[in-house]
């Protein structure tokens, strides 16, 4: 394990009776990155994260989290913070009571007052947790996880069930935690979330890793076409064939759709049109994203299954 690696997983397998939830996966997480596991429900995301958190025993494989075997749970939990998929608080507890309780669990707890301040929950100290909004509850669960003063924060489906605004404010919070030096290991089934937030993404399908890398790497690796569309009355398909990198051209009346590869595809198209003084309007380009990578790798869209 190199110095920069904080989590290393080798041949992790999780079986439930006859069902294989996670099938022999291996990966590493580097210090200070946001590492996201993305995939549809039942892909094995939660089984994986719970093994790393020491909450589930793997059927086979080795896991190393900060040099600790997660089976040694009391040692592990001095260094990691955990947010579970479901809310997990006593039903009649108040925010500050919960924080005090979690503070008493750790040898070197973080100051929860400062955390509540950071998460804009100071005025909710005396509120019952169950009366908070979905977004606020999730913030409380992150605060509880951060009281551990963790090096790694584990977040399982943090933004599921939140409204769009709460999701976006959660994204900014997670980024700020990463910028403050925490490593974040998260699962999600939102492509836009992984694309915006994650430094590296591990795409899981049916218990296996379909792809792993930065969003850029995944998109480049999937060799997907960029689409550029514009309208023009002064050209035809044949004339456009000569553009660098064009693989396919679709024409519908005066609307052209060009598909192609290469980092400079967009520039090549525009400069060709300028050089040949072809007038055009409404030029737009669509870059392929994680969603397209997923579609290409699996043959279906994630949103349909989520």
């Amino acid at each position: 394990m190199s110095e920069n690696t904080v989590i290393s997983v080798n041949g992790l397998t999780v079986k439930y009776k006859d069902f294989i939830a996670v099938n022999n996966i291996s990966f590493e997480v580097k210090k200070g990155e946001i590492f996201g596991v993305i995939g549809p429900n039942g892909a094995g995301k939660t089984s994986t994260i719970e093994c790393l958190e020491g909450l589930r025993k793997q059927s086979a494989g080795e896991i190393d989290v900060l040099g600790i075997n997660p089976a040694d749970r009391r040692k592990l939990y001095e260094h990691i913070g955990v947010q579970l998929q479901e809310a997990s608080f006593p039903s009649d507890i108040k925010v500050d009571e919960l924080c005090r309780m979690y503070t008493s669990f750790y040898k070197n707890p973080a100051d929860y007052h400062a955390l509540l301040e950071q998460f804009e929950l100071t005025d909710k100290k005396k509120a019952y947790v169950k009366k908070l909004s979905g977004g606020q509850k999730q913030k409380v669960s992150i605060v509880a996880a951060l009281i551990a003063n963790p090096q790694i924060l584990f977040l399982d489906e943090l933004t599921t069930g939140l409204d769009p605004q709460a999701r976006i404010s959660m994204w900014e919070l997670i980024k700020s935690l990463r910028n403050a030096g925490k490593t974040i290991f998260m699962t999600t089934h939102f492509m836009d979330e992984a694309e915006y937030l994650c430094d590296r993404v591990c795409m899981m399908v049916k218990g296996e890793i379909a792809a792993i890398g930065t969003v850029k790497e995944l998109v480049a690796g999937a060799d997907l076409s960029q689409k550029i569309s514009f309208s023009s009355k002064h050209t035809d398909k044949e004339a456009l064939q000569a553009i660098n990198g064009v693989t396919q051209i679709m024409q519908n009346d005066d609307i052209f759709e060009l598909y192609g590869n290469g980092i400079n595809f967009q520039r090549d198209v525009v400069s060709y049109l300028m050089e040949h003084t072809i007038e055009f309007n409404d030029l737009s380009s669509t870059k392929p994203g994680l969603e397209d990578v997923f579609l290409k790798l699996t043959g279906y869209r994630l949103e349909e299954t989520a």
Binding site: L55, R73, E86, S91, I93, M101, S104, F105, Y106, A144
Partner: protein, 247 residues
């Protein structure tokens, strides 16, 4: 220890936010005592072998308190915690299993003790309640009874697949024990069939030994009760620890 104290303190507060629990622990028993005390008084009566009704009913109501905290409070809290993943979340901290579980026993025992004190104070002020036994003997009976009833509660929490089932089982165990064990209605006025049933209910032996030691009888009169209560405690705790699931 610091952790245990903090969890217990907060669990204690949480218990006080549960209205039904507080009603059955602190309002219902004194209410029963006031009601039956004012009906029968506390003068020596031949029905109660020369004891006053209040002196006999008070230790029985202490058994009723134990049933509330041990058979309802304890298992329902634990099963709710499991269902809501509170236990799972606690497991994801460096806290020991003991520090997670012990507060539930401590807090419910403490509520039981406070309920007992309240009952005794009401009995003393209103009916001039007498304690005729030896305190060490009574405390031993108290401890043994708590151990037995709480171990049954722990077993309910351990075997119930979910919160709903825990509720159903707790009620099914609690109410028969409450009414057929002498904890609320003296067995002396019950028909023979019910007295026979009562022999199968652990709470009957709690009430028996609590009443006996309260009224000054020697522990040696209650060997059967002591053996049964000890056996039930050990058996239930053993099975519970085997069967307990965190989620």
């Amino acid at each position: 220890m610091k952790t245990l104290f903090h969890i217990s303190l907060i669990e204690f507060k949480l218990a006080f936010r549960n209205f039904i629990y507080i009603f059955f622990a602190f309002v219902f028993p004194p209410m029963m005592l006031l009601m039956f005390g004012s009906m029968y008084g506390n003068e020596p009566s031949s029905f109660y072998n020369g004891h006053g009704a209040v002196d006999v009913l008070t230790p029985a109501y202490i058994g009723m308190l134990m049933a509330v905290s041990g058979l309802m409070g304890l298992p329902l809290q634990l099963s709710e915690y499991r269902q809501n993943k509170v236990l799972k979340r606690f497991k994801a901290t460096p806290v020991s299993t003991g520090a997670i579980m012990a507060p539930h026993f401590l807090v419910n025992s403490l509520l039981c003790i406070l309920g007992t004190l309240l009952l005794v104070i009401v009995g003393k002020i209103v009916f001039n309640l007498h304690f005729l036994g030896s305190l060490p003997n009574f405390l031993l009976a108290f401890l043994l009874s708590v151990a037995c009833i709480f171990s049954i509660g722990f077993l309910i929490a351990a075997i119930a697949p979910n919160n709903r089932a825990a509720n159903a089982i707790a009620y099914l165990v609690y109410f028969p024990m409450l009414f057929l064990s002498g904890a609320t209605v003296p067995l002396q006025i019950m028909p023979g069939a019910i007295v026979t049933i009562s022999k199968f209910l652990p709470l009957t032996y709690c009430v028996e030994i609590l009443q006996g030691t309260w009224l000054g009888k020697p522990l040696s009169d209650y060997v059967t009760a002591i053996v049964i209560l000890s056996f039930v405690s050990i058996a239930c705790i053993g099975v519970s620890i085997k069967a307990f699931r965190w989620e």
